[in-house]
């Protein structure tokens, strides 16, 4: 198996504050990695460095053997790294269908017709085909997030980053989004998921990474991670969230 993402000795600073310290991790093709950790531990910052929405200062981040850095190759790398945002960030002035079809036309050079046919198929997959002609503001949060997932898949990226995809949702809508993500994972899509959904991590992850204070504290398969955490800080975290 080949590594889609490799991160070596990466540091990130906001001014004096070190947000990420000596991050080392790899993600293999087809792997589902869930990143857990308390708020402010740098989880979101870490995945936002992978497509350079945040700049990192030291070390290397590589996607499919290409270093992620500013320059002419960045757009090409970003095509391979999809991202699903906490606040969906759908394009509000475009219909659901146009949201999904836009980037394939503009970036992949696909014909408008082909892109729309593909967009409809993807909307079907996330259960949103009936809403193709609506605008984002007419949809619930869960529906918007499912459209956002379809929009991301439309670019056929090598890996999809999920930045707390259910954190902005009403509780009753979390399930529909997690279901879509789970079926993506089953179909072999490589995913890195920052989330607070322990159930999802347990059920779907191939590997769980625990972060605190900008460091990776521990990583393991979900079985061992949840039942036999090694580090005291991981134990404390799991204690706090699982027995409240």
């Amino acid at each position: 198996m080949s590594n889609v993402i490799e991160i070596e000795h990466m540091n990130k600073f906001y001014g004096q504050f070190q947000a990420l310290s000596d991050i080392n991790m790899t993600v293999e093709q087809g792997e589902v990695v869930v990143i857990l950790g308390p708020s402010g531990s740098g989880k979101s910052t870490l995945i936002r460095c992978i497509n350079l929405l945040e700049a990192y200062q030291d070390g290397d981040v590589r996607v499919a053997d290409q270093r992620v850095e500013n320059g002419p190759k960045l757009a090409g790398i970003r095509c391979e790294v999809g991202m699903v945002f906490q606040n969906f960030n759908l394009y509000p002035h475009l219909t659901v269908l146009a949201n999904v079809a836009l980037a394939p036309v503009r970036v992949r050079g696909m014909s408008r017709r082909d892109a729309q046919v593909r967009a409809r198929a993807l909307l079907e997959k996330v259960g949103m085909a009936a809403h193709a002609d609506k605008y984002p503001s007419q949809l619930s949060g869960g529906q918007q997030q499912r459209v956002a997932i379809a929009r991301t898949m439309a670019m056929e990226p090598r890996v999809i980053l999920f930045d707390e995809p259910t954190s902005a949702l009403d509780p009753e809508m979390v399930g529909e989004v997690l279901d879509v993500m789970q079926s993506l994972a089953r179909s072999g899509v490589t995913m890195i998921v920052v989330t607070h959904e322990m159930g999802f991590a347990r059920k779907v992850a191939d590997r769980v990474i625990f972060m605190e204070n900008g460091r990776i504290i521990e990583q393991n398969n979900p079985q061992d991670f949840f039942t036999a955490p090694q580090e005291p800080r991981t134990q404390a975290f799991l204690q706090a969230i699982l027995h409240h």
């Binding site: 497509n51 095509c79 999809g82 836009l102 970036v107």
Partner: protein, 225 residues
Amino acid sequence: MELLDTFFNWDVFVDAFPLMLRGLGVTVLLGVVSIILGLVGGLLLAMLRLYGYAPIRWFSRAYIDVMRSIPLLVLLVLIYYALPFVGIRLSSFAAAAAALSLVSCAYSAEIFRSGIEAIPRGQFEASASQGMSFFNTMRDVILPQAMRIVMPPMTSNCINVMKDTALASVVAMPDLLKQATQAQALSANPTPLVGAAVMYLLLLLPMVQLVSWVERRNAAGGKRA
């Protein structure tokens, strides 16, 4: 009766009307040309001001501040009466169009900038994360949303440009006001001036009402795309 004869003299008006109509044509042409140049230049300037390299950003900002500070009439007089001393001799139309669009593009640049800055960062990030180029991001994602926001202030700005075309009569441009003052001098009667005022109103009132309509619709429509 004397009042009617003085200010609303039909015979004088009919005599002056053809010239004033031609003047109105010149006014509209000057306004439209200046508005278009001002919008195009303003968008360009806003882009440089927001996304250019530091020196370009600084220069755009300085340009915008200067153009928003200088009185339009002063700039117009400078262009028309001072530039010939360095060999640049513009027709009165070109001088007026230059002055109007140089100033209006500074105002529209600031309006565009505020509109673009009102777009949430998530929109830029979503577009970037899909590998969209700067140009595509602007054209397909940011500007369509920004345009909706800047519609009311931008229309107001266009109305101002149209109104300010009257200043061009100072540099002997045969616009509506100039034609009216000439007709007034010729007939020794102020009716053409009143006529000109009415024609300005007929031209601009619908535009003003358009602005309030757009503003009302935006306020009511809210989120609906």
